[in-house]
């Protein structure tokens, strides 16, 4: 299957967060747990659903990713922009050193 990760928005900050293998949410895509099997997906989906129900995150969904040179990169452009920041303001978002 295509590799996937789970992402969402943090309720307080609204920032994009990624679900890690330890069940915690991180603003760093590098911390995201890579889903490689249906079992992984079901397990992480359950954790994500629990976080949504517990009102820690919103807009939870899985996205396709590719692993390039050891880096996790969303396949779809929209998700790359979420992961990095506005393409026209490289000083903003996760791509920014000040993020």
């Amino acid at each position: 299957m295509t590799a996937k990760i789970f992402n969402a928005n943090d309720i307080l900050s609204g920032r994009v967060v990624y679900l890690g293998a330890d069940g915690n949410w991180s603003e760093r895509i590098a911390d995201a747990a890579i889903v490689q099997s249906a079992e992984d997906e079901a397990r992480l989906q359950a954790i994500a659903d629990e976080a949504f129900s517990a009102r820690r995150v919103v807009d939870v969904y899985a996205i396709d990713v590719a692993i390039e040179d050891g880096h996790t990169r969303p396949v779809i452009y929209r998700e790359r922009i979420r992961a990095e920041g506005p393409s026209i303001r490289l000083d903003l978002g996760k791509q920014s050193a000040n993020s």
Binding site: G14, V16, R55, Y77, I81, R82, I88, G93
Partner: protein, 551 residues
């Protein structure tokens, strides 16, 4: 300009306090997403790609310098030092934290502003001609009626849960600068045969996935009956508009389905039954509101203003800015100065907090403390003495705000697109930037003349692409950004939806395609023709042939 009375202030203060409590409950985990979402949306708080976005209402685009400074301060304190002026004359902040939203609403309330009804299925911010009150040839200042509609529609008990959002625009001049016919209700002020001032009422306009121009419902509604008549229009829509399909829920779909004659019949029947019990608009109330929009104490200035004329003669760059960015004022010796927020390679509609502060300073120094936001995402200093224009222009230049391109090919409307918006399919801003760069030469822009390019990153059409002389729509084509071009759209009183040119283009080919369209126009134009004139004379075929020619 209008100032809040005790009732306005109390309403906004109470609403901010109520929202603070709802945010507290959300942060404490007491409210689910489903429960909280309508509460935040009714206070203008969206969740976008990167963070929460707060949309702040700028009623009919009129701002005081004090309000602009407050917006600058909010950008600095709670966001990332900038804001984005929108096609509804509003301002958006893109990096808001939920916990800060209540404090921001308090800061807004302190300067008589809010974010109420900037989202949701209700009557949104009423928009108006950006030159209202100062335009030459105006029938009357339409902001008087925009303000009355604002007060009437704020938390209106009958119209707070419409089938879909509802937008009203008003103008009192020709040409129409407020895109009136693209609105759910469009109001043109006019005089009847007796010389009385009233309103021509259009309904059923809108862009989005089904663009339609508003149609005439009634040719003349007296001032006293305006609210009652609008109530009848919205009541028919509220009762009959579809609620089963979000894409078919706007009033335009109802008007189209019924036909304008049947729709009018229903409105008139409701109006006949309710006009005496509907919201009255007595002359005393009109006069009360009108008092806030009385012209300032203009100086009597002898014209021509020699210093201004001399500066135009001696300074070519200043003369160019005056040609494009300065508009005739109704008062001799004064001018309307437009500050372009479209520098080459910039982000259309964005202003930094520092720029907002400086523009507020300019408004105080040169424009009696007042500004306007245009739906084309620029700012206006409406009351500048001609004698001050040269000094103003020099100051604007130091801030990167003297781009002389109003109405030209680089004065592009662009929605936030996929760089910010959760609904977008493609980016808008980089397309605008690449086109600006291709046509950066100001002499070339001037030679091309008026040409309005409008870009949307999805079919919701926040970038008004349907009514661009050249419209650009971003679409998702199997995961890649693609752009469909339309030609011949127009947002003025002869509003027209543009026609699709042909198959779309990948992003990197769009600027070249635009250049071919421009070259085609330049090769075909007759004396005095603008792009739209030539297009209307020759049709779409010559443009299509050139753009899609082999090789």
């Amino acid at each position: 300009m209008y100032r809040y009375d005790a009732i306005d202030q109390r309403l906004v203060d109470e609403r901010a306090a109520q929202f603070r409590e709802q945010v507290r409950r959300r942060m404490a985990g007491e409210l689910s997403d489903l429960e909280f979402k309508p509460l935040r949306l009714m206070n203008g708080l969206y969740l976008q790609l990167h963070a929460y976005m707060l949309r702040i209402a700028v009623p009919y685009g009129t701002l005081s310098s004090k309000q602009l400074r407050a917006l600058a301060a909010i950008g600095r304190k709670y966001d990332k030092d900038y804001g984005h002026f929108t096609t509804r004359q509003n301002l958006q902040f893109n990096w808001i934290k939920l916990e800060d939203a209540p404090d921001i609403l308090d800061d807004l309330a302190a300067v008589e502003m809010h974010a109420i009804q900037t989202s949701g299925n209700c009557v949104r911010n009423v928009t108006a001609d950006q030159y209202a009150g100062v335009a030459a040839g105006e029938i009357e200042d339409p902001r008087i009626y925009a303000e009355i509609i604002r007060q009437w529609s704020s938390l209106h008990p009958e119209f707070s849960f419409l089938p879909r959002k509802f937008k009203i625009a008003i103008t009192a001049t020709s040409p129409d600068r407020a895109a009136v016919k693209t609105h759910d209700i469009g109001l043109f002020m006019k005089r009847n045969d007796k010389g009385e001032i009233g309103f021509q009422v259009f309904a059923g306009g809108g862009q989005g996935r089904t663009p339609m121009m508003a149609q005439l419902v009634r040719d003349f509604v007296p001032k006293a009956e305006l609210l009652a008549y609008i109530e009848s229009v919205i009541r028919v829509y509220n009762l009959m508009g579809r609620r089963d399909n979000i894409h078919k829920a706007r009033i335009k779909i109802l008007v189209h389905a019924l036909g304008i004659d049947k729709f009018r019949e229903l409105v008139e029947a409701d109006f006949a039954a309710t006009r005496d019990s509907g919201s009255p608009m007595p002359a005393a109330e009109i006069a009360r509101v009108a008092a806030y929009f009385m012209p300032p104490a203009y100086e009597r200035i002898e014209t021509p203003v020699r210093a201004f004329e001399a500066a135009r003669f001696e300074d070519r760059d200043f003369a160019r800015w005056v040609t494009h960015n300065v508009v005739a004022h109704k008062q001799p010796g004064y001018a309307i100065a437009v500050i372009s927020l479209k520098p080459t390679g910039g982000i259309p509609g964005d202003a930094t907090s520092d720029q907002m502060d400086r523009i507020a300073d300019f408004a105080d120094r040169y424009s009696i403390g007042e500004l306007r936001v245009t739906h084309e995402q620029n700012l206006v200093l409406p009351n500048v003495k001609q004698a001050d224009l040269h000094a103003l222009w020099r100051e604007l230049g130091k801030e990167g705000l003297a781009t002389p391109n109003l109405g030209l090919i680089t004065d592009i409307i662009a929605c936030p697109g996929l760089d910010y918006c959760a609904l977008a399919n493609a980016r808008s801003i980089p397309i605008a930037q690449r086109i600006q760069e291709k046509f950066a030469d100001p002499d070339r822009q001037a030679m091309i003349g008026e040409l309005k390019i409008k870009i949307s990153g999805c079919i919701n059409a926040c970038g008004h692409h349907h009514v661009g002389h050249i419209g650009i729509l971003g679409v998702d084509k199997q995961g890649e950004e693609f752009y469909q071009i339309t030609l011949g759209g127009s947002a003025d009183e002869n509003a027209t939806v543009g026609k699709i040119l042909g198959k779309g283009f990948p992003a990197e080919q769009v600027p070249d395609a635009i250049e071919k369209l421009v070259d085609t126009y330049l090769g075909l134009r007759a004396d005095g023709e603008l792009f739209l004139d030539t297009y209307r004379r020759v049709g779409i075929e010559p443009f299509k042939e050139r753009v899609y020619a082999a090789g």
